[in-house]
């Protein structure tokens, strides 16, 4: 950084305004850095310290982090797409054409949203298998595994409801195939099918329902459960330590899940 910029930044960070917002203020001490986590409503769901070897790529492959990354990209591109989209028939399809031929970078925006959505589904699955093969679902992390399964289902539903929105042949028939399955549920199948689509087949009502689920309800649910997921990582004593993963740190004692549980109690 330029010295001038750095000085300006320093003055800014030492100002009363800055300190009133970010209570940690300026500094690189351990205290300041812990405060940076603890004094932020968004970051305080993370622990202030983590085990060094959990930052190695081979522990988690960063798959959970990357899943969150795709989610953030999807929220940003999704909000931008909402500026151009009407959940009505046939306007929805016309909006797709406009995005392609009229809106500047509209095509790129749609591509980014589409490919990120596929990536998120893939990454959520990969993350689940990675967590399983590390044995990180073991107590005391059982419930976070369950939260994870809920997140996986939310991810699938997000992707599925979004699939209908372009209102092209691909969208229409994919949702028709999928929603017909719900009719197979015993006794209440037809009712579920009707409730889901707002009719007996995929039509304008279904588009509106899927739109509301896709843009409001499911994203809110996702944010809520991601918050619980992260909070539980901290409360369960940080990321799972595998016995066989060699400790790169200084003289390492026995670390068992039991220990991390106790640690979580001792340092809430």
């Amino acid at each position: 950084m330029q010295p001038r910029t750095e000085a300006t930044l320093g003055r800014l960070m030492a100002s009363r305004l800055w300190k009133s917002i970010f209570r940690s203020g300026r500094g690189t001490s351990t205290l300041h850095r812990s405060m940076a986590i603890q004094q932020s409503v968004f970051l305080h769901i993370l622990p202030a310290k983590v085990r060094r070897r959990m930052l190695n790529f081979d522990a988690t492959w960063y798959l959970g982090t990357l899943t969150l990354g795709t989610f953030l990209v999807l929220v940003i591109t999704g909000i931008l797409l909402m500026f151009y989209y009407h959940p009505s028939v046939p306007q929805a399809y016309a909006d797709m054409k406009d995005l392609r031929y009229v809106v500047s970078s509209g095509l790129f925006l749609r591509n980014l949203h589409r490919w990120s959505a596929h990536a998120m589904v893939l990454l959520a699955f990969a993350h689940m298998f990675r967590v399983f093969y590390r044995g990180a679902y073991r107590p005391p992390r059982e419930f976070n595994w369950v939260v994870g399964v809920i997140l996986l289902l939310i991810t699938l539903l997000l992707s599925y409801t979004g699939y209908l929105l372009p209102w092209d042949q691909l969208a229409f028939w994919a949702i028709t195939v999928g929603s017909n399955i719900s009719s197979a549920v015993p006794i209440v199948g037809q009712k579920i099918h009707f409730l889901m689509l707002g009719g007996n087949q995929v039509n304008a009502n279904a588009l509106l329902r899927f739109y509301v689920l896709h843009c409001v309800i499911l994203p809110l649910a996702a944010v809520l459960f991601i918050a619980v997921h992260f909070w539980r990582i901290r409360k369960d004593g940080g990321l799972y330590v595998q016995q066989s993963e060699p400790a790169k740190g200084a003289g390492e004692a026995r670390v068992s899940t039991e220990d991390s549980a106790q640690e979580a109690v001792a340092k809430p």
Partner: protein, 231 residues
């Protein structure tokens, strides 16, 4: 201690205290974890940001190179053949080809979700020892019965797509069953030490991958078998 009242009527003015009851005569037992820790900010957060940046670059490149599909406007009177669900449901759609909707569309997905949820609550999934190392006789019998009936079932309904991964995993389990934990072969030693949960999950992963790939690339009009490179 005297001012501490347990239960609903605890005095809210008292801050909670951690109490330890020592019931037997024991010496103090300190368990220390001497593991190197680093600050979440900046060490973990910066690494996470870096990972996300690499991801975003990859996604942007992908979006510049490939366009999202857009077909003609939705038309309820023209059914494409085949009509396919999104790719992550094509494994289930492949099953729908063999079994009635109540089985492939309702029963299987419900069982899958339930099975995933309960994994951490059963000790059999927590124990880390190789499946054939403890109570070998019993586990071998169970393995033979389960593998044989599952394979026969899939064979009976002509579900060869799901039969192939099943036979493959069963084959590797057989190798595991007849390898010694001290086997000179590294791969065999690895197989021997795998617990039962590992085998089930690996079978599931393989089925998921094979069925999804088949449904996505190898299925054409009327759900017939096609070769993606010959179209």
């Amino acid at each position: 201690m005297s001012d501490y009242v347990a239960g609903m009527s605890s005095d809210a003015k008292n801050s909670p205290k951690r109490v330890v009851f020592v019931t037997r005569r024991t010496s103090a037992h300190v368990r220390s974890v001497d593991e190197e820790q680093v600050q979440t900010y900046p060490e973990a957060l910066f690494r996470a940001a870096l990972a996300v940046q690499v991801l975003v670059i990859a996604l942007v490149l992908l979006s510049l190179l490939f366009n999202a599909p857009l077909e003609g406007i939705a038309n309820p009177t023209v059914t494409p053949n085949p009509a396919k669900a999104p790719w992550y449901f094509l494994g289930l759609q492949e099953m729908l080809h063999y079994f009635p909707p109540i089985v492939a569309g309702v029963l299987i997905p419900t069982l899958l979700v339930v099975a995933l949820v309960v994994i951490p609550y059963f000790n059999i999934n927590i124990r880390p020892d190789g499946v054939f190392l403890k109570s070998r006789r019993r586990n071998l019998t169970v393995f033979y019965i389960v593998a044989a009936s599952l394979s026969l079932f899939l064979w009976f309904f002509d579900v060869y797509v799901a039969l192939a991964p099943t036979l493959m995993v069963a084959g590797f389990m057989l190798i595991a069953a007849f390898s010694a934990p001290q086997s000179p072969d590294r791969f065999r030693r690895y197989l021997v030490s795998r617990p039962v949960s590992w085998w089930i999950m690996t079978w599931f992963l393989l089925e998921l991958a094979v069925l999804t790939v088949v449904g996505t690339f190898f299925r054409g009009p009327g759900w017939s078998w096609v070769l993606p490179w010959r179209s």
